[in-house]
Protein backbone atom coordinates (compact mmCIF):
# COMPACT_ATOMS: atom_id res chain seq x y z
CA UNK A 1 0.00 0.00 0.00
CA UNK A 2 2.84 2.36 0.90
CA UNK A 3 4.68 1.75 -2.36
CA UNK A 4 1.51 2.29 -4.40
CA UNK A 5 1.06 5.63 -2.60
CA UNK A 6 4.65 6.70 -3.32
CA UNK A 7 4.27 5.68 -6.98
CA UNK A 8 1.11 7.81 -7.34
CA UNK A 9 2.81 10.78 -5.68
CA UNK A 10 5.95 10.57 -7.85
CA UNK A 11 3.76 10.32 -10.95
CA UNK A 12 1.62 13.30 -9.93
CA UNK A 13 4.66 15.46 -9.12
CA UNK A 14 6.24 14.62 -12.46
CA UNK A 15 2.91 15.35 -14.16
CA UNK A 16 2.51 18.79 -12.57
CA UNK A 17 6.10 20.07 -12.56
CA UNK A 18 7.74 18.24 -15.51
CA UNK A 19 4.60 17.78 -17.60
CA UNK A 20 4.39 21.41 -18.82
CA UNK A 21 8.02 21.13 -20.09
CA UNK A 22 6.95 18.35 -22.45
CA UNK A 23 3.34 19.26 -23.17
CA UNK A 24 3.32 22.94 -24.14
CA UNK A 25 0.03 24.83 -23.83
CA UNK A 26 -0.94 28.49 -23.65
CA UNK A 27 -2.77 28.99 -20.34
CA UNK A 28 -2.66 32.81 -20.43
CA UNK A 29 -4.60 33.89 -23.49
CA UNK A 30 -8.30 33.43 -24.16
CA UNK A 31 -9.41 31.54 -27.29
CA UNK A 32 -13.20 31.81 -27.54
CA UNK A 33 -13.10 29.91 -30.82
CA UNK A 34 -11.99 26.82 -28.91
CA UNK A 35 -14.15 27.27 -25.80
CA UNK A 36 -15.73 24.21 -24.11
CA UNK A 37 -14.50 21.62 -26.65
CA UNK A 38 -15.08 18.07 -25.54
CA UNK A 39 -12.06 15.72 -25.30
CA UNK A 40 -10.72 14.80 -28.72
CA UNK A 41 -7.80 15.20 -31.09
CA UNK A 42 -5.51 18.07 -30.11
CA UNK A 43 -7.14 18.42 -26.67
CA UNK A 44 -7.08 15.01 -24.93
CA UNK A 45 -9.08 16.36 -21.94
CA UNK A 46 -11.02 19.01 -23.86
CA UNK A 47 -10.91 22.77 -23.20
CA UNK A 48 -12.42 25.13 -20.61
CA UNK A 49 -14.68 28.18 -20.98
CA UNK A 50 -11.69 30.34 -22.02
CA UNK A 51 -10.62 27.84 -24.68
CA UNK A 52 -7.53 26.82 -22.69
CA UNK A 53 -6.38 23.20 -22.93
CA UNK A 54 -7.70 21.24 -19.93
CA UNK A 55 -4.78 18.77 -19.67
CA UNK A 56 -2.22 21.57 -19.58
CA UNK A 57 -4.32 23.47 -17.07
CA UNK A 58 -4.58 20.49 -14.70
CA UNK A 59 -0.73 20.30 -14.81
CA UNK A 60 -0.23 24.00 -14.03
CA UNK A 61 -3.07 24.09 -11.49
CA UNK A 62 -1.53 21.18 -9.60
CA UNK A 63 1.59 23.23 -8.89
CA UNK A 64 -0.27 25.68 -6.62
CA UNK A 65 -2.30 22.90 -5.00
CA UNK A 66 0.80 20.83 -4.19
CA UNK A 67 2.99 23.76 -3.10
CA UNK A 68 0.43 25.32 -0.75
CA UNK A 69 -0.79 21.92 0.49
CA UNK A 70 2.66 20.59 1.36
CA UNK A 71 3.87 23.85 2.95
CA UNK A 72 0.69 24.22 5.02
CA UNK A 73 0.67 20.53 6.04
CA UNK A 74 4.32 20.64 7.18
CA UNK A 75 3.82 23.90 9.07
CA UNK A 76 0.67 22.58 10.77
CA UNK A 77 2.42 19.38 11.85
CA UNK A 78 5.40 21.38 13.16
CA UNK A 79 3.27 23.82 15.19
CA UNK A 80 1.03 21.05 16.49
CA UNK A 81 4.02 18.89 17.53
CA UNK A 82 5.61 21.73 19.52
CA UNK A 83 2.32 22.59 21.23
CA UNK A 84 1.47 18.96 22.01
CA UNK A 85 5.00 18.08 23.20
CA UNK A 86 5.11 21.10 25.52
CA UNK A 87 1.59 20.43 26.85
CA UNK A 88 2.29 16.77 27.59
CA UNK A 89 5.75 17.44 29.06
CA UNK A 90 4.68 20.15 31.51
CA UNK A 91 1.42 18.45 32.50
CA UNK A 92 -0.80 19.80 35.29
CA UNK A 93 -2.44 23.18 34.93
CA UNK A 94 -0.35 24.19 31.89
CA UNK A 95 -1.46 21.03 30.11
CA UNK A 96 -5.12 21.58 31.04
CA UNK A 97 -5.09 25.17 29.77
CA UNK A 98 -3.22 24.30 26.56
CA UNK A 99 -5.52 21.41 25.76
CA UNK A 100 -8.74 23.38 26.45
CA UNK A 101 -7.50 25.92 23.88
CA UNK A 102 -7.12 23.02 21.43
CA UNK A 103 -10.63 21.73 22.30
CA UNK A 104 -12.12 25.16 21.66
CA UNK A 105 -10.28 25.51 18.35
CA UNK A 106 -11.43 22.07 17.19
CA UNK A 107 -15.07 22.89 18.06
CA UNK A 108 -15.21 25.63 15.42
CA UNK A 109 -15.44 24.21 11.86
CA UNK A 110 -12.11 24.95 10.11
CA UNK A 111 -13.70 26.09 6.89
CA UNK A 112 -15.78 28.73 8.68
CA UNK A 113 -12.75 30.29 10.40
CA UNK A 114 -10.90 30.22 7.09
CA UNK A 115 -13.79 31.96 5.33
CA UNK A 116 -13.74 34.68 7.99
CA UNK A 117 -9.97 35.21 7.70
CA UNK A 118 -9.82 35.28 3.90
CA UNK A 119 -12.78 37.69 3.93
CA UNK A 120 -10.54 40.10 5.82
CA UNK A 121 -7.15 39.42 4.19
CA UNK A 122 -6.68 39.08 0.44
CA UNK A 123 -5.72 35.44 -0.07
CA UNK A 124 -2.25 35.14 -1.64
CA UNK A 125 -0.29 31.85 -1.60
CA UNK A 126 1.74 32.70 1.57
CA UNK A 127 -1.41 33.92 3.37
CA UNK A 128 -3.18 30.69 2.42
CA UNK A 129 -0.29 28.57 3.75
CA UNK A 130 -0.35 30.48 7.06
CA UNK A 131 -4.11 30.41 7.61
CA UNK A 132 -4.52 26.75 6.62
CA UNK A 133 -1.69 25.79 8.99
CA UNK A 134 -3.09 28.05 11.73
CA UNK A 135 -6.40 26.18 11.63
CA UNK A 136 -5.14 22.60 11.15
CA UNK A 137 -2.38 22.13 13.77
CA UNK A 138 -4.90 21.21 16.50
CA UNK A 139 -5.29 17.50 15.68
CA UNK A 140 -1.50 17.01 15.63
CA UNK A 141 -1.25 18.72 19.02
CA UNK A 142 -3.68 16.19 20.54
CA UNK A 143 -1.80 13.19 19.13
CA UNK A 144 1.68 14.38 20.09
CA UNK A 145 0.49 15.36 23.57
CA UNK A 146 -0.71 11.79 24.20
CA UNK A 147 2.70 10.53 23.04
CA UNK A 148 4.53 13.07 25.23
CA UNK A 149 2.50 12.05 28.29
CA UNK A 150 3.78 8.51 27.82
CA UNK A 151 7.36 9.62 27.13
CA UNK A 152 7.80 12.04 30.03
CA UNK A 153 7.90 9.21 32.55
CA UNK A 154 10.72 7.46 30.68
CA UNK A 155 14.12 7.34 32.38
CA UNK A 156 16.02 9.41 29.87
CA UNK A 157 13.57 12.32 30.18
CA UNK A 158 13.62 12.04 33.98
CA UNK A 159 17.44 12.13 33.79
CA UNK A 160 17.38 15.50 32.02
CA UNK A 161 15.33 16.88 34.90
CA UNK A 162 17.53 15.37 37.57
CA UNK A 163 20.63 16.75 35.87
CA UNK A 164 19.02 20.20 35.91
CA UNK A 165 18.43 20.42 32.16
CA UNK A 166 16.19 23.25 31.01
CA UNK A 167 12.62 22.34 30.04
CA UNK A 168 12.69 23.62 26.44
CA UNK A 169 15.73 21.42 25.86
CA UNK A 170 13.92 18.35 27.20
CA UNK A 171 10.95 19.05 24.95
CA UNK A 172 13.01 19.69 21.81
CA UNK A 173 15.79 17.13 22.27
CA UNK A 174 14.01 14.23 23.90
CA UNK A 175 10.22 14.40 23.65
CA UNK A 176 9.80 15.64 20.07
CA UNK A 177 12.37 13.30 18.41
CA UNK A 178 10.93 10.24 20.15
CA UNK A 179 7.44 11.11 19.02
CA UNK A 180 8.80 11.37 15.46
CA UNK A 181 7.03 8.22 14.26
CA UNK A 182 3.64 9.58 15.31
CA UNK A 183 4.53 12.95 13.79
CA UNK A 184 5.60 11.43 10.46
CA UNK A 185 2.27 9.63 10.15
CA UNK A 186 0.49 12.85 10.93
CA UNK A 187 2.44 14.95 8.40
CA UNK A 188 1.11 12.73 5.65
CA UNK A 189 -2.51 13.16 6.78
CA UNK A 190 -2.00 16.89 7.32
CA UNK A 191 -0.74 17.42 3.75
CA UNK A 192 -3.67 15.51 2.27
CA UNK A 193 -6.02 17.52 4.44
CA UNK A 194 -4.39 20.86 3.52
CA UNK A 195 -4.76 20.06 -0.19
CA UNK A 196 -8.47 19.34 0.38
CA UNK A 197 -8.95 22.55 2.36
CA UNK A 198 -7.19 24.69 -0.26
CA UNK A 199 -9.27 23.14 -3.04
CA UNK A 200 -12.45 23.79 -1.04
CA UNK A 201 -11.53 27.44 -0.39
CA UNK A 202 -10.70 27.98 -4.06
CA UNK A 203 -13.92 26.27 -5.05
CA UNK A 204 -15.83 28.68 -2.79
CA UNK A 205 -14.11 31.53 -4.68
CA UNK A 206 -11.99 32.52 -1.66
CA UNK A 207 -8.73 30.64 -2.26
CA UNK A 208 -6.25 31.00 -5.10
CA UNK A 209 -7.41 34.04 -7.07
CA UNK A 210 -7.73 34.47 -10.84
CA UNK A 211 -5.55 34.68 -12.99
CA UNK A 212 -3.60 32.21 -10.83
CA UNK A 213 -4.96 28.69 -11.22
CA UNK A 214 -5.40 25.68 -8.94
CA UNK A 215 -7.59 22.57 -9.07
CA UNK A 216 -10.24 24.08 -6.80
CA UNK A 217 -10.84 27.25 -8.82
CA UNK A 218 -10.92 25.23 -12.07
CA UNK A 219 -13.94 23.41 -10.64
CA UNK A 220 -15.36 26.72 -9.37
CA UNK A 221 -15.39 28.02 -12.98
CA UNK A 222 -16.79 24.76 -14.33
CA UNK A 223 -19.67 24.70 -11.83
CA UNK A 224 -20.90 28.06 -13.20
CA UNK A 225 -21.89 26.27 -16.43
CA UNK A 226 -22.77 22.90 -14.88
CA UNK A 227 -26.18 22.75 -16.60
CA UNK A 228 -24.40 22.63 -20.00
CA UNK A 229 -22.92 19.25 -19.04
CA UNK A 230 -19.21 19.97 -19.70
CA UNK A 231 -18.27 17.00 -17.52
CA UNK A 232 -14.55 16.99 -18.47
CA UNK A 233 -14.04 20.39 -16.82
CA UNK A 234 -15.11 18.94 -13.45
CA UNK A 235 -13.88 15.36 -13.73
CA UNK A 236 -10.27 16.18 -14.78
CA UNK A 237 -9.25 18.40 -11.84
CA UNK A 238 -11.53 16.32 -9.56
CA UNK A 239 -9.64 13.11 -10.34
CA UNK A 240 -6.33 14.92 -9.84
CA UNK A 241 -7.32 16.13 -6.34
CA UNK A 242 -8.57 12.69 -5.44
CA UNK A 243 -5.43 10.86 -6.61
CA UNK A 244 -3.13 13.10 -4.58
CA UNK A 245 -5.26 13.00 -1.42
CA UNK A 246 -5.77 9.21 -1.68
CA UNK A 247 -1.99 8.81 -2.01
CA UNK A 248 -1.20 10.93 1.06
CA UNK A 249 -3.90 9.15 3.11
CA UNK A 250 -2.65 5.70 2.03
CA UNK A 251 0.93 6.72 2.82
CA UNK A 252 -0.16 7.83 6.31
CA UNK A 253 -2.05 4.56 6.87
CA UNK A 254 0.94 2.51 5.69
CA UNK A 255 3.34 4.42 7.98
CA UNK A 256 0.98 3.98 10.93
CA UNK A 257 0.55 0.24 10.33
CA UNK A 258 4.33 -0.10 10.05
CA UNK A 259 4.80 1.77 13.32
CA UNK A 260 2.19 -0.40 15.07
CA UNK A 261 3.75 -3.71 14.01
CA UNK A 262 7.21 -2.45 14.97
CA UNK A 263 6.13 -1.55 18.51
CA UNK A 264 4.34 -4.89 18.82
CA UNK A 265 7.43 -6.78 17.71
CA UNK A 266 9.48 -5.27 20.52
Amino acid sequence: MGSAAVAILVAMFAFCFLGPLVYHTDQVHVFFKFANLSPGAGHPLGTDADGDDELGRVMVGGQASLEVGIAAGLLAAFLGSLWGAASGYFGGVTDAVMMRIVDAGIAIPTIVVLLLIVTIYRPTEPVLVLVIAATSWLSTARLVRAEALALRTREYVQMVRVMGGASPRAVLRHIAPNALGTIAVNVSFQIGNAILILATLSYLGLGVQFPAVDWGNMIFSAVQTISSGYWWQIVSPGVAIMLVVVAFTMLGDALRDGLKSKSRGR
Binding site: R100, I101, D103, A104, G105, I106, A107, I108, P109, T110, I111, V112, V113, L115, L116, I117, V118, T119, I120, Y121, G192, L196, A199, T200, Y203, L204, G205, L206, G216, I219, A222, V223, I226, S227, G229, W231, I234, V235, P237, G238, I241, M242, V245, V246, T249, M250
Partner: protein, 303 residues
Protein backbone atom coordinates in the same frame (compact mmCIF):
# COMPACT_ATOMS: atom_id res chain seq x y z
CA UNK B 1 -20.02 9.33 38.20
CA UNK B 2 -20.83 12.67 39.87
CA UNK B 3 -17.14 13.56 40.04
CA UNK B 4 -16.68 12.65 36.38
CA UNK B 5 -19.76 14.68 35.38
CA UNK B 6 -18.65 17.72 37.37
CA UNK B 7 -15.15 17.62 35.89
CA UNK B 8 -16.43 17.20 32.37
CA UNK B 9 -18.98 20.04 32.79
CA UNK B 10 -16.27 22.40 34.04
CA UNK B 11 -14.12 21.51 31.05
CA UNK B 12 -17.03 22.17 28.69
CA UNK B 13 -17.70 25.56 30.27
CA UNK B 14 -14.02 26.48 29.86
CA UNK B 15 -14.15 25.39 26.22
CA UNK B 16 -17.30 27.42 25.53
CA UNK B 17 -15.74 30.53 27.09
CA UNK B 18 -12.59 29.97 25.00
CA UNK B 19 -14.73 29.59 21.85
CA UNK B 20 -16.28 33.01 22.51
CA UNK B 21 -12.79 34.45 23.13
CA UNK B 22 -11.42 32.99 19.88
CA UNK B 23 -14.39 34.29 17.91
CA UNK B 24 -14.03 37.72 19.50
CA UNK B 25 -10.28 37.79 18.79
CA UNK B 26 -11.05 37.00 15.14
CA UNK B 27 -13.35 40.02 15.20
CA UNK B 28 -10.37 42.16 16.25
CA UNK B 29 -8.83 41.38 12.86
CA UNK B 30 -11.86 42.86 11.08
CA UNK B 31 -11.82 46.41 9.71
CA UNK B 32 -13.24 49.20 11.93
CA UNK B 33 -16.76 49.56 10.50
CA UNK B 34 -17.37 45.79 10.64
CA UNK B 35 -16.20 45.71 14.23
CA UNK B 36 -18.47 48.63 15.13
CA UNK B 37 -21.41 46.77 13.60
CA UNK B 38 -20.89 43.98 16.13
CA UNK B 39 -19.66 45.68 19.31
CA UNK B 40 -21.61 48.93 18.86
CA UNK B 41 -20.70 51.84 21.10
CA UNK B 42 -18.00 49.87 22.94
CA UNK B 43 -15.78 49.96 19.82
CA UNK B 44 -13.40 52.53 21.31
CA UNK B 45 -12.90 51.00 24.75
CA UNK B 46 -10.40 48.37 25.85
CA UNK B 47 -10.34 44.78 24.60
CA UNK B 48 -11.73 43.26 27.80
CA UNK B 49 -14.51 45.86 28.11
CA UNK B 50 -15.46 45.30 24.47
CA UNK B 51 -15.42 41.55 24.94
CA UNK B 52 -17.62 41.62 28.04
CA UNK B 53 -20.16 43.99 26.54
CA UNK B 54 -20.29 41.84 23.39
CA UNK B 55 -20.71 38.69 25.50
CA UNK B 56 -23.55 40.38 27.40
CA UNK B 57 -25.31 41.12 24.11
CA UNK B 58 -24.82 37.54 22.89
CA UNK B 59 -26.25 36.12 26.14
CA UNK B 60 -29.35 38.24 25.52
CA UNK B 61 -29.70 36.59 22.10
CA UNK B 62 -28.46 39.65 20.24
CA UNK B 63 -25.98 38.55 17.57
CA UNK B 64 -26.06 41.87 15.68
CA UNK B 65 -27.87 42.82 12.48
CA UNK B 66 -27.34 41.47 8.97
CA UNK B 67 -27.10 44.97 7.51
CA UNK B 68 -27.92 48.46 8.77
CA UNK B 69 -31.65 48.57 9.62
CA UNK B 70 -32.16 45.03 8.30
CA UNK B 71 -32.96 41.59 9.65
CA UNK B 72 -31.18 40.46 12.83
CA UNK B 73 -28.53 37.74 12.67
CA UNK B 74 -30.55 35.70 15.18
CA UNK B 75 -33.63 35.81 12.90
CA UNK B 76 -31.56 34.70 9.91
CA UNK B 77 -30.21 31.86 12.03
CA UNK B 78 -33.73 30.82 13.05
CA UNK B 79 -34.81 30.43 9.41
CA UNK B 80 -31.64 28.70 8.16
CA UNK B 81 -30.73 26.36 11.04
CA UNK B 82 -33.69 23.94 10.61
CA UNK B 83 -32.69 23.43 6.94
CA UNK B 84 -29.15 22.54 7.91
CA UNK B 85 -30.46 20.17 10.59
CA UNK B 86 -32.64 18.39 8.00
CA UNK B 87 -29.67 17.96 5.64
CA UNK B 88 -27.24 16.91 8.37
CA UNK B 89 -29.78 14.68 10.16
CA UNK B 90 -30.75 12.62 7.11
CA UNK B 91 -27.19 12.19 5.87
CA UNK B 92 -25.80 11.26 9.30
CA UNK B 93 -28.47 8.58 9.76
CA UNK B 94 -27.72 7.12 6.32
CA UNK B 95 -23.99 7.31 7.05
CA UNK B 96 -24.32 5.38 10.32
CA UNK B 97 -26.53 2.71 8.72
CA UNK B 98 -23.98 2.07 5.95
CA UNK B 99 -20.65 2.74 7.65
CA UNK B 100 -21.05 0.48 10.71
CA UNK B 101 -21.56 -2.78 8.78
CA UNK B 102 -19.08 -1.71 6.09
CA UNK B 103 -16.37 -0.94 8.67
CA UNK B 104 -16.87 -4.19 10.58
CA UNK B 105 -16.83 -6.20 7.36
CA UNK B 106 -13.52 -4.62 6.33
CA UNK B 107 -11.98 -5.48 9.68
CA UNK B 108 -13.30 -9.06 9.70
CA UNK B 109 -12.51 -9.98 6.08
CA UNK B 110 -9.73 -7.59 5.01
CA UNK B 111 -8.46 -9.79 2.18
CA UNK B 112 -11.79 -10.86 0.63
CA UNK B 113 -12.83 -9.31 -2.67
CA UNK B 114 -15.65 -7.35 -1.00
CA UNK B 115 -13.27 -6.25 1.75
CA UNK B 116 -10.79 -4.86 -0.79
CA UNK B 117 -13.60 -3.26 -2.77
CA UNK B 118 -15.00 -1.52 0.32
CA UNK B 119 -11.50 -0.34 1.24
CA UNK B 120 -10.94 1.21 -2.18
CA UNK B 121 -14.39 2.85 -2.09
CA UNK B 122 -13.70 4.23 1.38
CA UNK B 123 -10.42 5.78 0.17
CA UNK B 124 -12.11 7.27 -2.89
CA UNK B 125 -14.96 8.92 -1.00
CA UNK B 126 -12.69 9.97 1.85
CA UNK B 127 -10.41 11.82 -0.57
CA UNK B 128 -13.05 13.28 -2.83
CA UNK B 129 -14.00 16.81 -1.78
CA UNK B 130 -17.77 17.29 -1.32
CA UNK B 131 -17.92 19.84 -4.14
CA UNK B 132 -16.34 17.40 -6.65
CA UNK B 133 -18.61 14.54 -5.60
CA UNK B 134 -21.66 16.83 -5.61
CA UNK B 135 -20.92 18.31 -9.03
CA UNK B 136 -20.34 14.86 -10.51
CA UNK B 137 -23.70 13.72 -9.08
CA UNK B 138 -25.40 16.85 -10.51
CA UNK B 139 -23.75 16.28 -13.91
CA UNK B 140 -24.79 12.66 -14.30
CA UNK B 141 -27.95 12.19 -12.19
CA UNK B 142 -29.32 15.75 -12.34
CA UNK B 143 -28.39 17.38 -15.66
CA UNK B 144 -27.73 14.11 -17.53
CA UNK B 145 -30.30 11.53 -16.46
CA UNK B 146 -32.73 14.13 -15.01
CA UNK B 147 -33.66 11.76 -12.16
CA UNK B 148 -33.10 14.42 -9.51
CA UNK B 149 -33.07 18.20 -9.31
CA UNK B 150 -29.74 20.00 -9.68
CA UNK B 151 -30.66 22.43 -6.86
CA UNK B 152 -31.74 21.80 -3.27
CA UNK B 153 -35.38 22.43 -2.23
CA UNK B 154 -36.18 26.16 -2.38
CA UNK B 155 -39.50 26.12 -0.48
CA UNK B 156 -40.16 28.46 2.43
CA UNK B 157 -42.03 25.82 4.47
CA UNK B 158 -39.99 23.09 6.19
CA UNK B 159 -42.68 20.45 5.53
CA UNK B 160 -42.33 21.05 1.79
CA UNK B 161 -38.52 20.88 2.08
CA UNK B 162 -38.63 17.44 3.72
CA UNK B 163 -41.09 15.95 1.23
CA UNK B 164 -39.33 17.31 -1.85
CA UNK B 165 -37.27 14.13 -2.27
CA UNK B 166 -36.48 14.92 -5.90
CA UNK B 167 -34.45 17.99 -4.93
CA UNK B 168 -33.34 16.80 -1.49
CA UNK B 169 -31.77 13.50 -2.63
CA UNK B 170 -28.55 14.80 -4.21
CA UNK B 171 -27.51 17.16 -1.39
CA UNK B 172 -28.24 14.48 1.23
CA UNK B 173 -26.43 11.82 -0.83
CA UNK B 174 -23.36 14.05 -1.32
CA UNK B 175 -23.00 14.78 2.39
CA UNK B 176 -23.83 11.15 3.32
CA UNK B 177 -21.17 9.59 1.04
CA UNK B 178 -18.42 11.79 2.49
CA UNK B 179 -19.59 11.07 6.06
CA UNK B 180 -19.81 7.31 5.34
CA UNK B 181 -16.13 7.33 4.39
CA UNK B 182 -15.11 9.12 7.62
CA UNK B 183 -17.21 6.79 9.79
CA UNK B 184 -16.23 3.59 7.95
CA UNK B 185 -12.51 4.33 8.38
CA UNK B 186 -13.11 4.80 12.10
CA UNK B 187 -15.31 1.71 12.43
CA UNK B 188 -12.76 -0.44 10.63
CA UNK B 189 -10.00 0.44 13.05
CA UNK B 190 -12.30 0.19 16.11
CA UNK B 191 -13.48 -3.26 14.99
CA UNK B 192 -9.92 -4.35 14.14
CA UNK B 193 -8.84 -3.34 17.65
CA UNK B 194 -11.66 -5.25 19.32
CA UNK B 195 -10.90 -8.33 17.17
CA UNK B 196 -7.47 -8.33 18.88
CA UNK B 197 -9.00 -8.28 22.36
CA UNK B 198 -8.96 -11.21 24.74
CA UNK B 199 -12.74 -11.48 24.98
CA UNK B 200 -12.83 -12.31 21.27
CA UNK B 201 -10.24 -15.02 21.77
CA UNK B 202 -12.20 -16.28 24.79
CA UNK B 203 -15.45 -16.37 22.80
CA UNK B 204 -13.73 -18.30 20.01
CA UNK B 205 -12.21 -20.70 22.53
CA UNK B 206 -15.68 -21.38 23.90
CA UNK B 207 -16.62 -22.45 20.39
CA UNK B 208 -18.67 -19.42 19.36
CA UNK B 209 -19.01 -19.23 15.59
CA UNK B 210 -17.61 -16.26 13.68
CA UNK B 211 -21.06 -14.72 13.21
CA UNK B 212 -21.72 -14.68 16.93
CA UNK B 213 -18.25 -13.28 17.64
CA UNK B 214 -18.82 -10.42 15.21
CA UNK B 215 -22.38 -9.55 16.22
CA UNK B 216 -22.30 -10.14 19.98
CA UNK B 217 -18.76 -9.10 20.82
CA UNK B 218 -17.11 -7.00 18.13
CA UNK B 219 -20.19 -5.01 17.04
CA UNK B 220 -21.30 -4.27 20.60
CA UNK B 221 -17.91 -3.13 21.75
CA UNK B 222 -17.20 -1.02 18.70
CA UNK B 223 -20.60 0.69 18.92
CA UNK B 224 -19.65 2.50 22.12
CA UNK B 225 -16.93 4.65 20.48
CA UNK B 226 -19.43 5.56 17.72
CA UNK B 227 -21.07 7.88 20.26
CA UNK B 228 -17.75 9.70 20.72
CA UNK B 229 -17.19 9.69 16.99
CA UNK B 230 -20.55 11.38 16.42
CA UNK B 231 -19.75 14.04 19.01
CA UNK B 232 -16.30 14.71 17.57
CA UNK B 233 -17.48 14.77 13.94
CA UNK B 234 -19.95 17.62 14.41
CA UNK B 235 -17.55 20.39 13.23
CA UNK B 236 -16.43 18.30 10.24
CA UNK B 237 -20.01 17.47 9.21
CA UNK B 238 -21.07 21.12 9.54
CA UNK B 239 -18.08 22.12 7.40
CA UNK B 240 -19.21 19.59 4.80
CA UNK B 241 -22.75 20.97 4.99
CA UNK B 242 -21.41 24.46 4.16
CA UNK B 243 -19.88 23.20 0.91
CA UNK B 244 -22.93 21.10 -0.02
CA UNK B 245 -25.35 23.95 0.70
CA UNK B 246 -23.35 26.40 -1.41
CA UNK B 247 -23.14 23.93 -4.30
CA UNK B 248 -26.86 23.12 -4.24
CA UNK B 249 -28.05 26.66 -3.44
CA UNK B 250 -29.74 25.30 -0.33
CA UNK B 251 -30.35 28.22 2.08
CA UNK B 252 -29.12 26.65 5.34
CA UNK B 253 -26.61 28.02 7.84
CA UNK B 254 -23.60 27.10 5.68
CA UNK B 255 -25.05 28.78 2.62
CA UNK B 256 -25.63 31.98 4.62
CA UNK B 257 -22.04 31.92 5.94
CA UNK B 258 -20.77 31.52 2.38
CA UNK B 259 -22.94 34.39 1.13
CA UNK B 260 -21.77 36.53 4.04
CA UNK B 261 -18.12 35.75 3.22
CA UNK B 262 -18.62 36.88 -0.36
CA UNK B 263 -20.38 40.09 0.74
CA UNK B 264 -17.82 40.77 3.50
CA UNK B 265 -20.63 40.63 6.05
CA UNK B 266 -18.63 40.07 9.24
CA UNK B 267 -21.52 40.14 11.79
CA UNK B 268 -23.23 37.20 10.08
CA UNK B 269 -20.09 35.02 9.79
CA UNK B 270 -19.15 35.80 13.36
CA UNK B 271 -22.58 35.11 14.85
CA UNK B 272 -22.92 31.83 12.97
CA UNK B 273 -19.35 30.76 13.80
CA UNK B 274 -20.13 31.30 17.46
CA UNK B 275 -23.28 29.17 17.28
CA UNK B 276 -21.43 26.39 15.42
CA UNK B 277 -18.56 26.42 17.91
CA UNK B 278 -20.72 26.39 21.03
CA UNK B 279 -22.98 23.73 19.47
CA UNK B 280 -19.99 21.49 18.74
CA UNK B 281 -18.58 21.94 22.26
CA UNK B 282 -21.94 20.95 23.78
CA UNK B 283 -22.21 18.02 21.36
CA UNK B 284 -18.84 16.71 22.47
CA UNK B 285 -19.88 17.06 26.13
CA UNK B 286 -23.10 15.10 25.52
CA UNK B 287 -21.14 12.41 23.66
CA UNK B 288 -18.75 12.02 26.59
CA UNK B 289 -21.62 11.74 29.07
CA UNK B 290 -23.36 9.15 26.88
CA UNK B 291 -20.09 7.23 26.61
CA UNK B 292 -19.71 7.18 30.39
CA UNK B 293 -23.29 5.95 30.80
CA UNK B 294 -22.74 3.16 28.26
CA UNK B 295 -19.29 2.10 29.41
CA UNK B 296 -18.67 2.03 33.17
CA UNK B 297 -14.89 1.61 32.64
CA UNK B 298 -14.69 5.23 31.48
CA UNK B 299 -16.19 6.88 34.52
CA UNK B 300 -14.13 4.84 36.96
CA UNK B 301 -10.89 5.32 35.06
CA UNK B 302 -11.16 9.07 34.62
CA UNK B 303 -12.98 10.25 37.71
Amino acid sequence: MTAFLARRMLQAIAVVILVTLIVFTLLELAPGPDRAAVVGTAAHSQFLVQYLSWLGQVLHGNLGVVSAGGESVAALLATSLPRTLILVGFSTLIALAVAIPAGIFQAARPSSVTGHGLRVLTYVFYSMPAFVLGSVLILFLGVGARWFGAEGPQYAGLGQVITDWRDLTLPVLTLALGTIAIFARYMRSAAADSLDEEYVEAARARGADERRVLLRHVLRNSLVPVVTLLGLSIPQILGGALVVESLFNFPGVGFQIWQAAQNHNVPVILGFTLVFGVGAAIGSLLADIAYALLDPRVRYARA
